[in-house]
Symmetry: C2
Subunit: 243 residues, 2 copies
DNA sequence: ACAAAAGTGTTAGAAATACACCCATGT
DNA sequence: ACATGGGTGTATTTCTAACACTTTTGT
C-alpha cells in the first residue's frame, strides 16, 4: 500500500460477500442456499451473497444481502451472529471477471419457516442439509466446507453454540447442537456439569421449565450468558486428533 | 452474487494485501514495518503490503510484496508460514479511494539482519517491537492488534510456535517463544513434558546438541514435527480467563 | 567452586470420564 | 406400569501445577 498508483491503472476488481448461514434442524446441520436464476451456473445452488456497495463495509453488505435474500426481519438479521470466515481471491473463481469475495459465517436458531417469503429473492432460498449439498456454483463448495469445519472448532472454545438455540433453551437442546455439529454422542451428566461450571456460558431462567418433546421430565430453561470464550475448552472426543 | 450486473456499474474497488510479519528477537515480539515515503501518512510507519495484480491471488500477492519489500530470498518467502487474518473493508479506511485490504499474518524466525538490503523498498523496512509500535498509518494499528492476539491464541492450540524458531532449535528457545508472545513465565519441566508428549510437535535431532548462551549444559536440538494442531491445547496460565 | 542453563522425578490437587441411579411427565 | 428424557452422585483415571533435585557446561 506504499507504492504510487493510479486507480485506473488497475483492472477493476469486483468485491462481493458470500454467506454460509447455518442452522440446526431435525438433528442435522443445515445451510441456507439459493437457486441461481442466471448464468453462469443457472439452476445450481449457491451461497447467498452479492456485491458490496460503494459506501458499506463487507459486514454491512453481508447483513443487507441476508435480509434481502431471505426476507428475515431486519431486527433479527441485525442481532444474529455473523463472523468473517476468510476471503477468496483466486483468479478464475468467477468465469465472468475478477471477483474477490469476503465470506462470512452466520449461525441462526431453527426458524419456523425455512426461508420466509417476503420480498427479494426469498422464494429461491432453501435450507439444505450440509451433507446433501453437492454441485454448488463457483467455489462455494470450498467455502461451505471451510465454514463447516470452522463452526465445528469454534464450538470447542467459544460459547457460540447458543447462537443455534432460541432465546431460551434447555441443556438438552444445547447438547443436541454439539452432537449434531460434531456428529458424536456426548455424556449428558458430564456435558451438563461442564456447561454449568463455565461462568457466563448460560444463565438459568428462574422458575421456568419446558416440556421437551411432550415426553419426559420438564427441563429447566437457560439464556445465553455474557461469556464468549470457553475456558477451559469443551473438546470433542478424540475426533481424529491422536492422543 | 446472483444479481444481474455490469462490472462498470460499480465504483471500482482497489484490493490490496497488508502483512503483519512477526518475529521474536531479544525477548520481545517484533513486527516488520515500512516507513511510508508519500502521502497520505508520509513518514509514518505502516505494515508492508500492496495491490493484488490482476492475475494473482491474495496469498500470491502477499508473498510477492513481502519479497519485494524486504529483500528476503524467494525460497525463504515461499516457505514461511503465511495465513489469512481477515479482510478490512470499512469505507474511508484509505482517504484516497475505496480500498479493501486482505490482511495476512506471517511468522518468521529471527533474522541475522532485520530487513536485508536487496532491491525494492527494503531500506525502509525495520523490525519494531510491537509494544512500541504507535501512530501507524491507516487502520494498521487495528490490523496489528488483531494479528497479535490471533498469534497469541494460535500458540495455544497449534504447533505454530516452531515457525518462530530456526530449522533446529532447543526446547528452551521454543519455550522462550511462548513466554515472549504470551508475556508469562512457564514452568520448564512441565513445558518440556507437554511438548514432548504431543506426538509430532517436535522431533529430536539425534545426537545433536548446542551450547546456549555460552553458559550452562548444552541443549538437545529438535526439528518441527509433522503435527499442526496441539491436542490437548497448551493453555496460557489464567490469562484474563476466569476459572 | 560457583553460576547458569538443561534435564529428571515426585507429589498434591484439579479435571475429564464412565457409569449407576433417581425424578417427573405422557401414554 | 413403563418408556422417555431431565437431573444427581460418585469412583476411577488422567492431566496439570508446583517444586525439589541432578547434570553439564563456562568462568
Amino acid at each position: 500500500m506504499n507504492t504510487a498508483y493510479d486507480p485506473r491503472a488497475f483492472e477493476p476488481f469486483a468485491v462481493t460477500v458470500d454467506l454460509a448461514v447455518f442452522t440446526v434442524r431435525a438433528g442435522a446441520l443445515h445451510v441456507l442456499l439459493i437457486r441461481r436464476g442466471q448464468e453462469p451456473y443457472a439452476g445450481a445452488w449457491a451461497l447467498p451473497g452479492g456485491f458490496i456497495l460503494p459506501r458499506e463495509s463487507a459486514e454491512t453488505a453481508a447483513r443487507r444481502e441476508l435480509a434481502e435474500e431471505t426476507g428475515l426481519s431486519p431486527a433479527l438479521v441485525a442481532a444474529l451472529h455473523l463472523e468473517q470466515l476468510r476471503t477468496y481471491s483466486e483468479p478464475g473463481r468467477d468465469p465472468r471477471m475478477r471477483v474477490v469475495s469476503v465470506a462470512f459465517t452466520a449461525l441462526v436458531p431453527d426458524m419456523p419457516e425455512p426461508a420466509a417469503e417476503g420480498g427479494g429473492d426469498a422464494d429461491r432460498a432453501r435450507w439444505v442439509p450440509v451433507d446433501g449439498a453437492a454441485g454448488l456454483a463457483f467455489d462455494h463448495a470450498v467455502i461451505l466446507s471451510d465454514a463447516r469445519s470452522r463452526v465445528g472448532s469454534k464450538l470447542e472454545y467459544t460459547c457460540l453454540a447458543t447462537a443455534f438455540c432460541p432465546p431460551e433453551f434447555t441443556l438438552g437442546e444445547l447438547q443436541a447442537v454439539y452432537e449434531t455439529v460434531w456428529d458424536t454422542a456426548l455424556d449428558r451428566p458430564n456435558f451438563r456439569r461442564k456447561v454449568l461450571a463455565t461462568p457466563g456460558f448460560v444463565e438459568a431462567v428462574p422458575g421456568a421449565a419446558r416440556l421437551t418433546g411432550g415426553r419426559g421430565k420438564p427441563a429447566a430453561l437457560y439464556r445465553p450468558g455474557p461469556a464468549t470464550v470457553l475456558h477451559p475448552p469443551l473438546l470433542r472426543p478424540t475426533e481424529g486428533h491422536p492422543r
